[in-house]
């Protein structure tokens, strides 16, 4: 019964950094708590009513000491701020070679889709030593993807994509929790992260029943929803070609220049009138309500997959 953990496992490259910041803060906290408790108890005993302690020359204010106890804690706090912000920056900035996995939160489960095609529910398989970036959205309310052993957490918000990244360092199975209250079975929206050796992971990726990659499925959906009718090469309607768009800057008709990321593509499909490419007419109908989040992710994966091809026909 007394065999219970007091400190979480460290299983990602940044977990040790986060814990470093934590221990610095813990040091400050223990020092000041001890100091205050000691002084309060010491004064309470020494200056108890009736004691013969020396009470001569009492002071009621002292600006120097006030400045000192504003200054010293401020310095200690600023060190914590800068150290923590430095680590946070690295928690946010994912490495360029991260592989991508898509996460869809819904009441009350996690749907996970690997670009190679494998899909899973409430379990995420990853390879040890490889950075992974999750692109996440929710189909209903706000959820939050939380892996304590990796010290990472990110809210998963309907209507937009959020992302987080991590690089596992130890094979094993770790908790996955939903951290943002999402309704009746919130505490049931849990799962596990399975960290495998790279070779094992490759074998696992190939072993599923799904044979098609997300991009290939996306290409099919691109035709099925009629996107290719306008955005295809031989289209009769004049619409921008999407080859080579992803990750590049796009000039809009209202003069703005935006980067074509997942959010841009998503908004262009659901709210086409909000960002019309310069030189084109706002003729695209909205797909709001006609396309589910899962299909949307696949179409985005497809558009991403042609993002690196040569810009043709412009």
């Amino acid at each position: 019964m007394w065999d219970f953990p007091l400190f979480p496992e460290q299983a990602s490259t940044l977990a040790g950094w986060v814990d470093g910041v934590f221990f610095y803060g813990l040091g400050i906290s223990v020092f000041f708590t001890t100091l205050i408790c000691f002084l309060v108890i010491f004064f309470a005993v020494k200056y108890r009513r009736g004691s013969r302690a020396d009470r001569s020359n009492p002071v009621t204010h002292n600006t120097t000491i006030e400045v000192l106890w504003i200054g010293i804690p401020l310095m200690l706090a600023l060190v914590l701020f800068f150290a923590s912000t430095f680590v946070y920056y690295h928690l946010i900035q994912y490495p360029a070679d991260s592989s991508e996995i898509y996460v869809l939160g819904k009441q009350w489960m996690w749907e996970i889709q690997h670009p190679e095609g494998r899909r899973e529910i409430n379990t995420l398989h990853v390879a040890v030593g490889r950075p992974v970036r999750l692109t996440m959205t929710s189909q209903d309310v706000i959820h939050s993807f939380y892996i304590p052993a990796f010290r990472v957490k990110q809210d998963v918000v309907p209507g937009r994509y959020t992302s987080m990244w991590f690089q596992p360092t130890k094979p094993g199975t770790y908790h996955l929790f939903c951290a943002e209250y999402c309704g009746t079975l919130h505490s049931g929206m849990i799962g596990k992260i399975v960290v495998m050796e790279p070779a094992e992971y490759e074998a696992w990726l190939q072993s599923g029943t799904e044979r098609e990659s997300m991009a290939a499925e996306g290409e099919r959906l691109f035709r099925q929803y009629g996107c290719s009718g306008c955005h295809g090469r031989n289209a009769s309607v004049r619409a921008p070609l999407l080859d080579g768009v992803y990750g590049h800057s796009v000039a809009l008709s209202d003069g703005r220049v935006v980067k074509a990321d997942e959010r841009y593509i998503r908004d262009s499909i659901l709210l086409p009138g909000s960002q019309v490419v310069a030189g084109y007419d706002p003729v695209m109908p909205t797909f709001e309500g006609h396309i589910n989040e899962g299909d949307l992710l696949k179409i985005i994966a497809y558009i991403k997959s042609i993002g690196n091809t040569e810009r043709a026909g412009r």
Partner: protein
């Protein structure tokens, strides 16, 4: 407070016979004399009864929550019921207990007394504020009777607007209405403190209790309208499907969080600043010392109130707000921690060379200092970005804010109850029971909430009805602590009630305390003072530097401190 006040004598000029002088409690007995009263002291007592009811409603919900969490799997209640219980606990405790607690009870009772006024500036608005509180409370009870609410007290969208099947509207409207009672109270305090101070009561002669309530009132009138608007927008979306927050309707769910925390973070300071004011009064009285660094203490509460308005984004570090936004909010959150540290250091320095007695209010005050220190320092981890990413929405957050709101604020509230009970009722209470309750609350509190820090860093998310089995031992400790805490909270309810009939009379100043409220009778007469007091010096006139720590009061004509001496 040094002041020249006529010693109250039996038999005022009100036709009563000698020795049976009327006080605010005996000035009218019928139920209407209470329900239609405009006396700030009676309204304070009305609030005290009302918030005590909500405290025990919220406490009952907490008891069921802790019982449920004794085992990893769900057993005592259904998941849905559990969600309704923590929502009820949060709504009852924040909106109906903590926010009104010290300001509406002791602020109402003491602000006019401490500055030498007859009443608050707008007595009828004051009564209206209690009625608004009551209407809000009735709405909250209606939502409970309709089956309860399961959104959490934060009402996060789109869950609350589009997905929850529970009685969200009555609860949100309850919080909406009770907000106006808070606004009226704040307005009343600000005008009263500006315009109704007794002759000679300059700004830097005011007790720190008054400074704390001034700062609190600023937050109440500037922050509360924002949450009122937000709750109204929530109702618009839920009832009329107006797309404000739900992305499916074209809204933005993060906008709700910005608006909600713009009020609800400063609201934390509504809860803690009045407590700080109480502690300054108690610590000085029972260590027989003027407060150390008076001007810094007054400045610190104002700084907390002002900086408190620009840190709300630290509730949203993982919500999807921009990385740079997070950095700015993190920096400002560290800045707001500094004036809180100044308060703690100055209280500690006040004890130096004092003459200490361990009466019940002082035990509560010392408990406050310890728990507030831990609560404040653990806030640093949540202001810091990298650690907050891990700890956000875990039990670490739960433990942190309970150290501030329960550890500190409720300790201060109970300290205030014991300190001013003789003034409010004219009766003492059994000292031994008081000390026992203070001890039980302190021990029970730490046993309940300290394990939750560990649980949080291990990664146990909050609002979880069931949890992985390795978290059980710490949860059982927490529940065991809660049972001690419950006894600690029930005791004062019992012995204080009994004291009304069976305890000895307190006399005007049982603690030999400094301050205008102690210069009048206990309980005070309807208009507080027979003659308007004239203030001639700063607050906290206690004998300094006496070798034996004299228990005696100052001579009748105290040496006035130089104006503004801190």
């Amino acid at each position: 407070m040094s002041a020249t006040v006529e010693e109250p004598r039996g038999g005022g000029g009100d036709g009563e016979y000698r020795g049976e002088r009327k006080n605010y409690l005996t000035d009218g007995y019928g139920i209407l004399s209470w329900l239609l009263t405009t006396d700030h002291k009676r309204i304070g007592l009305l609030y005290m009864v009302s918030i005590t009811i909500f405290f025990f409603v919220g406490g009952a919900a907490a008891t069921l929550i802790r019982l449920e969490l004794m085992t990893p799997s769900g057993d005592i209640v259904q998941a849905e019921t559990y969600n309704k219980l923590f929502t009820l606990h949060g709504v009852a405790m924040t909106f109906f207990f903590l926010i009104p607690s010290i300001p509406a009870v002791f602020g109402n009772f003491l602000v006019p007394l401490m500055i030498g006024a007859k009443d608050l500036a707008f007595p009828k608005l004051n009564l209206l504020s209690w009625y608004l509180y009551t209407i809000g409370g009735v709405l909250a009870v209606v939502s409970l009777l309709l089956g309860g609410v399961d959104t959490g007290w934060t009402f996060y969208v789109p869950y609350s607007t589009m997905f929850s099947n529970s009685a969200v509207i009555p609860a949100a409207m309850g919080a909406f209405v009770v907000g106006f009672s808070s606004i009226l109270t704040g307005l009343n305090f600000i005008v009263t403190i500006h315009k109704m101070r007794a002759p000679g009561m300059t700004w830097f002669r005011m007790p720190l209790f008054i400074w704390a309530h001034y700062a609190t009132s600023l937050i109440m009138i500037l922050g509360t309208p924002v949450v009122s608007i937000t709750l109204l927008l929530l109702a618009l979306e839920r009832v009329f499907r107006v797309g404000i927050f739900d992305p499916a309707l074209g809204g933005d769910p993060i906008l709700f969080q910005h608006l909600f925390w713009f009020y609800s973070h400063p609201a934390v300071y509504i809860m803690i600043l009045p407590g700080m004011g109480v502690i300054s009064e108690i610590v000085t009285c029972f260590s027989r010392r003027p407060v150390f660094g008076y001007r810094f203490m007054a400045g610190a509460v104002l700084a907390i109130a002002i900086f408190g308005f620009v840190v709300w984004g630290h509730h949203m570090f993982v919500s999807g707000q921009s990385m740079y936004g997070g950095m700015v909010f993190s920096f400002l959150s560290f800045v707001v921690a500094i004036p809180s540290a100044v308060k703690v250091f100055n209280w500690t320095a006040t004890l130096y060379k004092g003459s200490f007695s361990f009466d019940t209010p002082m035990l509560y005050a010392l408990g406050f200092i310890g728990l507030f220190t831990i609560g404040g320092l653990t806030g640093l981890f949540l202001a810091s970005l990298a650690t907050d990413v891990h700890m956000h929405d875990t039990y670490f957050v739960v433990a942190h804010f309970h150290y501030i709101m329960v550890g500190a604020t409720v300790m201060a509230y109970l300290g205030a109850v014991h300190f001013w009970w003789p003034k409010m009722t004219g009766k003492m209470y059994p000292e031994l029971w008081g000390k026992l309750s203070a001890l039980l609350v302190f021990v029970g509190f730490n046993l309940t909430f300290f394990p939750q820090f560990v649980l949080g860093y291990l990664g146990m998310p909050r609002r979880y009805y069931q949890y992985p089995p390795e978290f059980q031992v710490l949860n059982v400790m927490s529940t065991a602590g809660a049972s001690i805490l419950a006894v600690g909270y029930l005791l004062p309810l019992i012995y204080l009630t009994i004291s009304l009939w069976f305890e000895r009379d307190a006399g005007p100043n049982p603690w030999d305390a400094s301050g205008l409220e102690w210069e009048t009778t206990s309980p005070p007469p309807k208009f507080n003072f027979d003659e308007t007091p004239v203030v001639t010096g700063g607050p906290y006139v206690y004998p300094l530097g006496e070798p034996e720590g004299q228990d005696e009061r100052l001579p009748v004509e105290p040496q006035p401190l130089p104006a503004g001496r801190s």
